[in-house]
Amino acid sequence: MRIRRVGALAGTAALALAATACGGGAEGSGQDEATMVIWADPERTEVLQPFAEEFGSANGIRVEVREVAVDTIQADFVTAHESGTGPDVLVGAHDWIGNLVQNGAIDPVELPEDRLAAFDEAAVEAATYDGRLYGVPYAMENLALIRNTDLAPEAPESIEDMVATGTRLREDGEVEEALGLQVGQVGDPYHMQPFYTSAGGYLFGTDGEGGYDPADLGVGSPESVEAFERLADLGEEGQGVLKRSIDSENVAGLFERGETPYFITGPWSLGAVQEAGVPYDISPVPGFEDGEEASPFITVQAFFVASGSSNKVLAEEFVANYVADPELATALYEADPRPPALTEVLEEVSQDDPDVGKFIDAGENGQPMPAIPEMNAIWDPFGKAQAAVIGGEDPEQAVQTAAEAFRDESG
């Protein structure tokens, strides 16, 4: 009798469980009204919200902007696309394009000529992959040189000039470090790129259409060895200007406390510098006296249409015909001051805030960050080679090792 009652109880409980399980499922998918979902990183989510709502109410749909952590948003997007639960629109960096395309996760966007012409040329070039435009750019960023005008009143003409000033200040005991350029234990190719290109090195050659050619790897070429020799000369065993102990975590603090006169960084560091009250000015990252022009990487933030979207007509409309709106670009700029990609808006905001214009000037010689998937295979060994050379290892060997690691990986 007793056992039977327990059995019945268990059965009822199980039935109840089964019922709730089914109920939960039906609730989730019972929505008739279309919802367009946008994925953005935390900084942009809030800014996008009112514009998304306006777009939604104009077209009689619900638009939801969902916040996804910036470190994982690309991988999460690909995974979600694969399982069919991805968003309709993605906001992200242009150098994801290669990976997103090979996974079939985004669709090309078609913009009319006149609207395309309103964008900065470099931004459009960056968002173009394999001859097609894959994203609508809204902001672009690149490295520049921020200097402490108390310590270094004049913008340096060359790396030699900058190193001389920095070293003099260090010897006088006014600063601790001659230059604030992050390297870290595994290197930082992004921040080293202006020096590397000025010394004659390149990462990937370009094919006929202006895209990067993975078959033409610049790392391992005689030029790259020469460039690495110049890095070694600035390194720990040389002039002691580039150091592995300066990394992404402490470099900003060094400059903000006035412990280094120069800081090579992007617009993202500007807010903290202003807060610290350091008197500063911005100029392009200089090159070597007898070298090429220093060419930083340009990264572009863009809107992408997810190819797995079930609201594709709306997603396309949003990306192709709505976000290229100057008002939205201005609002995004105000929320997070990165130079806008729309030329008109850029000119407007640089009148109010000359720093923006200076950052854009610093990117004049810039090259878009390669978006090809092959970047993965060289980035890590390339950075480690830089760190090794700065630490005093042989440049030739370091470069060839990185090139070999790339060949092993890409087969």
Partner: protein, 486 residues
Amino acid sequence: MFPLYAAGQWLGVGVVAAATALIFYVYLSRRAIPAKYLLPGTLLLVAFQIVPVVYTLSTSVTNYSDGHRGAKEQAVDQIEASSVVRTEDAAEYTLTVAARGPAATGELVFLLTAPDGTAYAGDAEGLTRLEGAEVGPTGRITEAPGYTVIPAGEANARSAEITKFAVPTGTGTGIRSSGFSSAYEGRSTRVYDAACDCVTDTETGRVYTADDERGAFVAGNGDRLAQGWQVNVGVANFTRFLTDPVTGTSFFGILAWNIAFAAVSTAGVFAVGLGVALTLHTPRRLAGRTAYRLLVVLPYAMPAFAMFLLWRSMFNTDFGLVNRLLGTDVDWFGEPWAARAAVLAINVWIGFPYMFLVATGALQSIPRELVQAARIDGAGAWQAFRSITLPLLMVAMAPILVATFAYNFNNFNAVWLTTAGGPFPPDNPMAGATDLLITYTYRLAFGVGGAQYGYAAALSVFIFLIVTLISLVSLRRSAALEEVHR
């Protein structure tokens, strides 16, 4: 169950139904008493142990990775869809999506306004002039006789149709939509032909043939299209690891360091944890004993993730606290042995409070009279500890030591967040001095070639085998320990 049903996952529906039926049968029947005890554990074992292992094994024989995720049909669709290029100098149209008949089901028609203001209606047959259309302020047609204008929300519901739809304007060219308010003339430049199982690029004339062993379309000159698909590659992932030149030269070094790391970490946290526990367990009066205990446990209460990053900056050569306090100039993360020492020190600091907690608990359960009796019998403090306290402690601590060892064997965070496996020898950026097997294989599978799940799965199988072997040995050992105490 409903989501599975909605997605047409009949196998999943079947499994859920079968499991539910089994549960009902076992618990509602009066017989099968042992099954009532065994079933929950068995089901959980299947769900969380066996299924993942089987899934890992089955993934390890595929090329599942970035660029090879989906099925071949998806790759073909995506290749064709992304190959549409706008015709040179072609007109841009303002678009209104309309239908012949009801908006939801009627035949699709694109109502187009050319830049010069001429209105057209385009359907699957082609383009015709449209008379009597009303044009709104933005140039969009708001009304046209014989057509129903589809509002945005409803047009969106027909997304799949609209994005595929093209108004033919010539050989291979068509007017396609870009959103619901603009359209352009373009043509698809890459076409898949099932007969030859190949994709032809009409611009360059190049033919990409499907290679079902690689899961990609490959041209005669070796060029391949970016979009690939998932295929079975047999044991290729396993042989790739075994024949990897870096693995060949560094595998045993990494394994040796991995075992040393786990062993020294375990010994370290045990020694420090027990030492501190013994100190605070003194029978003498100790003011603020609880406060001390709380302080000691603090590292355990703080998120290890942040602590690793903090320690990393403390070991910085030029700006780190460690070098400044000691007055040294050690390149902590640049020299192999210094880096190993630093990682171990950090890991012991993070790990000892747990051992302290366990040891304190175990010490309190050992009656003090036993030690007192030994002391009266003439044993020194050390001998009393060696012969009385420690053996009694080990009864509680031995299994925890085994678990700590196993945990540290795969302690990814301790290495990845501090040294990232480095320093790396100048001739080898793939295997660093502090790399554990798990960080080394993570770098191989995810660090350099995008996400390579197939390869990662094969690597996990190897690690699984190694850990199994070590666990077997250590279980034998701990069984031997229990034997002693029985």
